[in-house]
């Protein structure tokens, strides 16, 4: 099923024409109504009229999280304050939060793109969607909610937490689609098992995942535990929230809703625009956003793009799942390490629980990487030499993946923190 065949299956030429028209509009409005853009464009010597082709977007300056912070709270609004009907903010863990303002029309766009995505997962108006994303300033809960409403499905706005209740409701209400973060999904599956809810008793036909990085191995694990296909959801508060890109049944990349959000990939160091298929930082422009146009926002998310007609019929460009962040990259003894690489290595080992924690220290001016994993009955042996072998085997797998020696520590089951939101996988104790 395709929610909006006209928009989702448009020909390349037709879409480019639409994108250019929308880009010209948004640049003009941004320049005329937001002092920040006017200042930046003037500095670069660019006028809205200079945008004649889609390639001219490369001439526009980037917008960063810091720029949005500087505009806190309402400095990025392009409409009078009274036209903004809803506000969301980022978590603000790394400084002042960034604010996102929506007009009625923006909420309409948000509902539309999420309805398209939920339809990709197989959702229809007959479905019951259990939405465990938090409702509040975080965009996750409401984004899914609006999409579900637009679709006409029944949404259970349970939010995150109350895990035992989640299980009870899943069972009693017969939820058919579950929306979770990957780490909360795994926790939920674990509790479901404890509560005696077998996965064949669950009626789930799809699981939607967002808000966190995940590996293909983690997807497999989640699919196995919930006995349903799992699909990736991508989005960020600055652009709109979840709904920027979602995965179709092909499970081979996320379709970017490119009639609304224009993606580019750049080299994060040189900021040079990279060609299709090359891995780099994702940059997004909201082409249709009314209340708060965002031009060339640097997401710090690492991915690549692939165009062409998908076997699902959609022509919207696909982005790979996020394989890292330009800023969660760990430099260990000079080597770049992504936590996702370590996760990948761990999940290849039978019997290993998908809960882990990476601890970075620098005891004698040399970085040490400790990976804590939980022991499970499958891993545990009464023999010391067996246990030492298992530890070595895990260390070797991680070494193969990242090219660095790590120290694996086996810890007791259920002692690593389970998150009810974004998982804290890395504890960096170095003073860098």
């Amino acid at each position: 099923m395709i929610w909006n065949e006209k928009a989702e299956c448009m020909s390349k030429d037709e879409r480019e024409e639409l994108q250019l028209k929308n880009l010209q509009n948004v640049v003009k409005r941004a320049y005329e109504t937001v002092p920040y853009y006017q200042k930046r464009f003037d500095k670069e010597g660019i006028k809205p009229e200079d945008i004649k082709t889609m390639d001219d977007i490369h001439r526009l300056p980037f917008t960063t999280k810091n720029d949005l912070r500087d505009a806190y709270p309402f400095g990025m609004f392009a409409v009078p304050r009274r036209e903004i009907v809803e506000l969301h903010t980022s978590s603000g863990t790394t400084g002042k939060p960034t604010v996102s303002g929506y007009t009625k029309k923006d909420i309409e766009i948000w509902s539309e793109v999420m309805a398209r995505g939920l339809t990709m997962f197989g959702a229809t108006e007959d479905d019951i969607i259990q939405n465990t994303h938090g409702y509040g300033l975080f965009t996750g809960g409401f984004g899914v909610h609006y999409g579900a409403q637009k679709l006409g499905a029944m949404v259970i706005p349970i939010s995150t937490g109350q895990t035992r209740r989640q299980i009870e409701i899943m069972k009693d209400f017969g939820a058919t689609i579950l929306i979770v973060t990957p780490s909360y999904g795994l926790y939920l599956a674990e509790v479901a098992k404890e509560e005696g809810l077998d996965n064949d008793e669950m009626k789930l036909k799809a699981v939607g995942f967002g808000a966190e990085m995940w590996t293909e191995e983690m997807r497999q694990e989640i699919q196995r535990r919930f006995n349903a296909p799992a699909y990736n959801i991508y989005g960020l508060t600055e652009i709109i929230g979840p709904g920027v890109a979602l995965e179709c049944p092909e499970q081979d990349g996320l379709h970017v809703m490119e009639d609304h959000f224009y993606p580019e990939i750049i080299d994060p160091q040189s900021t040079k625009v990279l060609s299709e298929g090359e891995k780099g930082e994702l940059v997004l422009t909201s082409l249709t956003r009314h209340g708060m146009p965002i031009i060339r926002f640097r997401t710090k998310d690492i991915t690549s793009l692939q165009s062409g007609t998908c076997p699902c019929g959609r022509t919207m460009i696909k982005m790979d799942r996020i394989t890292g962040r330009t800023d969660d990259m760990l430099k260990i003894r000079g080597v770049a390490v992504f936590p996702s690489q370590i996760e990948k290595a761990l999940l290849k080992i039978d019997g290993l629980e998908p809960h882990y924690q990476i601890i970075v220290t620098r005891p004698q001016h040399l970085d040490e990487l400790e990976v804590q994993v939980e022991t499970s009955p499958e891993l545990f042996s009464d023999e010391v030499k067996e246990l030492v072998n298992i530890k070595k085997k895990i260390e070797n797998r991680v070494h193969d993946e990242i090219g660095l020696r790590v120290n694996v520590t086996l810890v007791e089951p259920k002692t690593l923190p389970r998150s009810e939101g974004k998982a804290v996988r890395v504890i960096d104790k170095r003073e860098l």
Partner: protein, 143 residues
């Protein structure tokens, strides 16, 4: 003739062993014999208890990783050379031991060794042949 033994994974962290033992204490399960293998950051606690199945279930409920295995209990003379006589029997049959631990039963004035050979069946066979005094499980659990 095999004795059930529980092996429990313990993280090298304050209070973990006590927690495991308290779980058993609350259930009124007495410990007949105990040994600890310690590796740098974790250890294995091995226990002989009456009602081993019940003890295992309780520990599992309390989030411990527990495995049930088997050892052989042999009674020795509580005097110099008692243990080496038992080991000689195994040596002569070329049976390798993973580990053993021993204790003395004061009431009965007996010394008992718990043996974990690589091959437990071969171990029993060799000991029987060597006329070692293998103790039956019921007797071990009821000391």
């Amino acid at each position: 003739m095999k004795i059930k033994q529980l092996s429990i994974f313990l993280e090298n962290k304050k209070g973990r062993m006590r927690k495991a033992l308290e779980v058993l204490a609350h259930a009124g399960i007495n410990i007949r014999a105990l040994s600890i293998a310690d590796i740098s950051d974790f250890g294995i606690l091995r226990l002989i208890v009456p009602r081993p199945e019940e003890a295992q279930a309780l520990l599992l409920d309390n989030n411990f990783v527990v495995k049930m295995g088997h050892v052989i209990a042999v009674e020795m003379n509580d005097q110099p050379g008692g243990l080496s006589a038992v080991l000689r029997t195994l040596d002569d049959a070329s049976i390798n031991l993973d580990y053993l631990y021993a204790f003395v039963d004061e009431k009965e004035e007996k010394a008992i060794v718990l043996l974990h050979p690589e091959d437990i069946e071969a171990g029993i066979e060799a000991l029987e042949k060597g006329r070692a005094n293998i103790i039956a499980p019921e007797d071990v659990y009821n000391w």
